[in-house]
Structure formats: structure tokens, C-alpha cells
Amino acid sequence: MDAIILQILNGLDKGSAYALIALGLTLIFGTLGVVNFAHGALFMIGAFCAVTLNRLLSLSHQVVDETRTDFLGNPLRVDIPYVYEWFGPEVGATIIDWSVPLAILFAIPIMILIGLAMERGLIKHFYKRPHADQILVTFGLAIVLQEIIKAFYGANPIPTPAPEAFVGSFDFGALIGFDPLTIMYPYWRLVYFSFAIIIIAAVFAFLRYTTFGMVVRAGMADRETVGLLGINIDKRFTIMFAIAACVAGLAGVMYTPILSPNYNMGMNFLVLSFVVVVVGGMGSLPGAVAAGFLLGILESFASRAEVIDIIPGINQVIIYLVAIIVLLTRPRGLLGRKGVMEE
């Protein structure tokens, strides 16, 4: 039993990332009818927002410290981050320590700008083109974005730690009545999961309870009719694209302590997120979220040594295998809407 709970917990953080990316993909597909192969790159850019903020906050200049000397007896030159000088060393240290959560604020405007630029500059021209063209041009864009990041940040993963307060694990087992130390769960992963739930809830609430959201949902169901009502759907869809970009970016920001970002992390997540979307059902938001968590947990179970002993390599292929089976038996996916991409 404790082993099962542990595997579920382990699957949650990856599942959260899948769910957030898949949510954005589905929003874009449902509203704009565009298959966005560059969505993984947005996730990756989000992660690099965190890296960038961390570097910006750590910007420092050299100061001669008269109180200390090096081994030759000269005064020592030390690097002092500017934030230490502005806010004092203690607050400054805390700010740098908390750079990943702070990067959320930093990433939101950036991701919205990138999202708007992408939609207005490129995607807009591909609404009427075949899906194959959309896949191809966004695939090209993904390559360009990741190469730009590579040019600036290099090819190696850049470790970006979580705040000190969240380092380590807590004893989840003891909390719910199991033996102590049986179910240990890292704090940051719990933070990530909660964060994902909040974002998902916010997106759903936004779509459900605001007029804006209602129009968008109506547009997803029947674009032409809503257009006939004299509502400018395109403008709202542009904003939805920016929101989707933002969701992917924030998913990336918070994922950095779990996986050190490198330039091609986006592509790896994109492939899996597409599989998630297909399993969940193209065009279904709840489907995307449910399938994201489901596949994350499934992957975690398949990674158990006992399972691998029985079916070697299953952890590597489980997600694809599930996708193939689902596509062949339930072509619409688990919660897919009727009439979406059935041709």
C-alpha cells in the first residue's frame, strides 16, 4: 500500500508538467484550430526565464575587502551581488534563494509577450493552411527558439535550485498513519503539484465564470455561430494563445529545480504532451489534464523495479504503448469531443 502511494506521488510532478503543457496545447487547438509543435519550446523558455532571473539577481561587482587578505597578504577582492547592497546581505540572500518562485512574476509578462508575438506574427497566417503546414512551421519555430536559447546559454543543463526552505523531503507516510520514513516526498515536488493544481483551477475558473471565458468556450464549440453574433472571436483567441503560452512558461519556471533546464528539454516534453493530448482527447480540456496525471502516474508505476523485472523496458515505452492502444480502440481519446479532427 505504501509503495502504491509512493508511486502515485512520484508520478504527480511529471504528470503536472504533462497536464499543464497539454492544457495549453488543447486550448490552442480548441480555439485556434492550430497544432502547435512549438509549445514545448515555450515550456523551455519559461524554464530559462527562471535561469535568467537567477543570473540577473546574482549580478555582482568586485569589491576590495580590506578585512580579509589572500595568501600573499594582499587585500581580497570579493564578488558582491548588487541586491546585497540594495537590500542588505540578509534580504539579498533571501531574494537570490527565492529566485525560482520570483521568476513567476518575471515570466508572466515575458511569456505573454512571446505568445502575442507568436500568434500575431506567425500562427495567424496559418489558420487556413492544412494541419501538416501548421505542424511544419511550428516545428521550424521550435528549432529556432531552442537554438537561440542554446546560443545564449550553451548546451549544458543549468542547475537552478529551489529555495532553501523547500530542500529535502517530508514524511508523507507518517502524516497519514504509515510507518515513519516509508513514504518520503520532496517538498518542492509537493509545491509543484499544488502550483499546477492552482493554475489548472484558475484556467478552468476563468473559462467557466467570466464572460470572456464563456465566449471562448462557445467559440471552441462553434466558431462560426459566435462570429455571426458580432463578437470579435479572433481577438479573444489571440489572448487565449497568450494565456496558453503563459501556462506552459510557468510550468517551465517551476520545473527547473526538478530538472536542470537545457535547450532541448522542450522537445522531449512536447512529444510526450502530444501523446497526452491524444490520449485525453483532442480538444478536451479535462481530458488533457486527466490524461496528463494518469500517464505521469502510470510512468512512475512502470519504473518500479518489480515491474521492470517482469516486463523489461516497460518504463521507457509505457506512455507510447498506452497512446497506441487508446488511439486504436478509442480514436477520440478518453474524453474527446465528437467531430474534432476525425477526418
Binding site: 497544432v35 506567425l122 497566417h125 493552411r129 494541419h131 501538416a132 503546414d133 505542424i135 511544419l136 512551421v137 516545428f139 521550424g140 519555430l141 521550435a142 528549432i143 529556432v144 537554438e147 537561440i148 542554446k150 546560443a151 522537445m267 512529444v271 502530444f274 501523446v275 491524444v278 483532442m282 523489461p312 523496458g313 521507457q316 515505452v317 507510447y320 504503448l321 497512446a323 497506441i324 488511439l327 486504436l328 480514436p331 479532427m341 477526418e343
Partner: protein
């Protein structure tokens, strides 16, 4: 000629001449000159032109004709490579059985993948093929290590049985891949003035195989079968109400393109007997998509042009570095020179993928028909200008060129 109409015969002859004379044509700059780095006439790169040309020709039979966008074709190339290396380990280092086996194994594998994937179309098909390729990649790295040798990659060793050949040569080394005694790495070098031309046995074998593949592709394009494949792309609905079963047509195209991929994999092994799982990674599948689109999907010549262009840029662009750039712009004042080099820097050397991505986007946006469409547009444009000049005096209506 050979059952082709005049236009196709001309095209085929042109390709034959270009490939036969490639060692000359691709080495236009004298050795040791500033521009020698733009020469592409060395065996390794020329072999790649041919091998990836075959890969793209095959992919085009599927994507260009039927419109099914597969994102997993590298898996067939990878499987073909493994099969080829195994033949060279078990049977003989003669490349013929290796190449044949690569085609057969890739064909069988694509039959299975295609049979399942073609039950869906559109983006679902793309994702199914992607899923299969990623699965093959993951399995080749992990469970199938006894067959694939995992991360190290599969290569020949001194202990291989090679029942029809020899395990090792007299001097105790691994025998070299050959075609009935002609070693693939054998080259004939010809120095003429400042120029050096290399005629490599492996290249010419690859070239002959490519020409045969190209010829078969032309026949398929012009056949009723090819017409049916274009009909699949155009309107599947109408096809089935016309009494045609679309799925076997698409599946045959899928298997043919899978066999072409296997052939490319087999040739890769023939030139350099090793196979690794990274050949199956989905970016490798993306690469053949890029080649086909860049050259012009659905055209005969496009895939070869696309494959050569991408392989050329990959090799040449990635060799240009800042020192080279400074050399080029040395005529400029220092400040400006540094500035220009700094601007170009991200696009060259290791950044050549950025150039590739941009090129690809530009092509999809402005030239959906690829470079072939660009060439045609230019031809029409020039044609109009020339015709226009001739015809202005008597105001004759433009005739079709």
C-alpha cells in the same frame, strides 16, 4: 528511354550526369585556396548526399504523394542499419547481403507499423508513427541491448563469425566492407593543376543505388498506382465511393517508403559499419521531413535537392568559424568587422541549426512547394521577361513555355 517519356528521360539523364561528375562539380575551388572549405567533393559528404537522397525520395513517395506525414521514418532507417551490421557480423563483409537484409527487415517493420498507424489519419497518424519511433528508440537503448549494443552502438568485432567470409584478416584486423572485393573506402585521387578530385568506390556504389531508387520513383510517380496515391491525398471520401480501397494503397506507399529508409540505413552501414540508436531519434525523423519539404514535397527532384542542401549546409556551415569570418571581412574597418562577425556568429558553426530552422520556416511560409517551386517561379519569371522582350514589337499573346 527505359519506358520514360521525354521529359522524365531528360531529368533522369541530368541526374545521372550530375552524380557521375559530382567529384568534379562539387570541388570547384583549388586545394589550399581560401574557398576550398566550400568544396563538397570528398567521399564522406558525397556518400551522404546519395544516402539521404534515397531516404528523402522514399519519404516523398509517402508524404509527397499520399499526404500522410510520418514523424517516425528514422526508425526504419535505424532498423535497417542494425540489420545490415548484423549481416556483416554473421555472414560476410560484402555489402550486398547487408543492404538486401536492411531493405527486407525495414520493409517488414514498416508493414507492422504502417498497418497499425494507417488506421488513423491526419495528426493522429503523425503521432502514432512518432510514438512507434520513440518506442523503438527507447527499446534499442534499453531492453534490446543484446541486439543493438545499447549506447555504444553496434559495430564489427574480431570475434564475429562471418560464416561466408573471414573473422579477421591475416594481420589481425577487422576486414573492410567491400562490394565483391572492391573496398568501399578505396579511392582514386586525381590531381589536376591546383585541384584534387577524389573518386571513391563507396560513393559510386551509393550513387548507382540512388539512381536505381530514383528511376523506380519516377516509374511509381507516372504509374496508375502513383495516380491513386495522389488521389488518396486529394479526396479519400471520393476514392472509396469510386470503388477503391484506400488503405492498401496508403499501406503499400508506407512500406515502399520504409524500404527506401531501410536501403538508406543499409548503405550507411556499408560505408561505415556501425549502427546506433540515435539514428532513430525523432529529430532524425524530423530531418527527413525537412529535406523533403525544403526540396519540394511531391516533386521528383525536390527530395534529392533538399537532402543535398541540408547535408551540404550541415557540413560546410558548421565548419565556418569566427576566424574564417574575420578573414572574409578583413577589408572592413576593425569596429565594423567585429560587429558584422558578431551578427553572423550565431548562425554559423555550432549554430547552423538556427539557420536551418529559419530556412525551413521561410520555406513553409513563403514557398510551400519548396525549392522546386522557387526554381519554377524563377523560370516562369525569366521566361516572361524574355518572352515579353521578344513579343513587345508585335504584341503577340504570351505562349506557354
Amino acid at each position: 528511354m527505359l519506358g520514360l517519356n521525354r521529359k522524365d528521360s531528360g531529368l533522369f539523364l541530368l541526374v545521372i550526369c550530375l552524380t557521375a561528375l559530382a567529384p568534379f562539380l562539387l570541388n570547384p575551388f583549388p586545394e589550399g585556396s581560401e574557398l576550398a572549405q566550400f568544396n563538397a567533393g570528398y567521399p564522406d559528404l558525397m556518400q551522404r548526399f546519395m544516402i539521404f537522397g534515397i531516404f528523402a525520395i522514399g519519404f516523398n513517395i509517402l508524404f509527397g504523394l499520399t499526404g500522410y506525414l510520418s514523424f517516425g521514418h528514422a526508425a526504419f532507417l535505424g532498423v535497417g542499419s542494425y540489420a545490415g551490421v548484423w549481416m556483416m557480423k554473421l555472414l560476410t563483409v560484402n555489402v550486398v547481403p547487408a543492404i538486401i537484409m536492411s531493405v527486407i527487415v525495414a520493409g517488414l517493420f514498416s508493414l507492422i507499423v504502417g498497418f497499425i498507424s494507417l488506421r488513423r489519419s491526419g495528426i493522429y497518424f503523425s503521432i502514432l508513427t512518432l510514438a512507434f519511433a520513440q518506442m523503438s528508440f527507447a527499446l534499442a537503448y534499453s531492453v534490446l541491448t543484446p541486439i543493438t549494443n545499447g549506447e555504444t552502438g553496434l559495430q564489427l568485432s574480431l570475434n564475429d563469425p562471418r560464416i561466408l567470409g573471414i573473422s579477421q584478416t591475416v594481420d589481425g584486423s577487422i576486414p573492410a566492407a567491400n562490394f565483391f572485393g572492391i573496398e568501399m573506402r578505396d579511392s582514386l585521387e586525381l590531381a589536376m593543376g591546383g585541384w584534387l578530385f577524389t573518386f571513391n568506390a563507396g560513393y559510386y556504389l551509393a550513387a548507382i543505388v540512388m539512381l536505381i531508387s530514383f528511376y523506380i520513383a519516377i516509374r511509381i510517380f507516372r504509374s496508375p498506382f502513383g495516380m491513386m496515391l495522389r488521389a488518396v491525398k486529394s479526396n479519400q471520401q471520393r476514392m472509396s465511393y469510386t470503388g477503391l480501397n484506400t488503405r492498401p494503397y496508403a499501406l503499400t506507399a508506407f512500406v515502399i517508403s520504409g524500404m527506401y529508409a531501410g536501403l538508406a540505413g543499409g548503405l550507411m552501414v556499408a560505408m561505415d559499419p556501425l549502427a546506433g540508436a540515435e539514428r532513430m531519434y525523432w529529430t532524425a525523423s524530423g530531418e527527413v521531413v525537412l529535406m523533403t519539404i525544403l526540396g519540394g514535397a511531391g516533386t521528383l527532384l525536390g527530395p534529392i535537392i533538399g537532402a543535398s542542401a541540408i547535408k551540404y549546409f550541415e557540413n560546410i556551415f558548421s565548419k565556418i568559424n569566427d576566424t574564417v569570418l574575420h578573414g572574409w571581412f578583413s577589408f572592413m574597418p576593425d569596429g565594423l568587422q567585429d560587429f558584422v562577425v558578431a551578427i553572423i556568429h550565431p548562425f554559423i558553426g555550432k549554430g547552423w541549426h538556427l539557420t536551418l530552422g529559419l530556412m525551413f520556416m521561410l520555406v513553409v511560409i513563403f514557398l510551400p512547394g519548396g525549392l522546386m517551386e522557387g526554381i519554377n517561379r524563377l523560370r516562369i519569371w525569366f521566361g516572361k521577361r524574355i518572352n515579353g522582350r521578344q513579343q513587345t514589337p508585335d504584341h503577340a499573346p504570351a505562349t506557354s513555355s
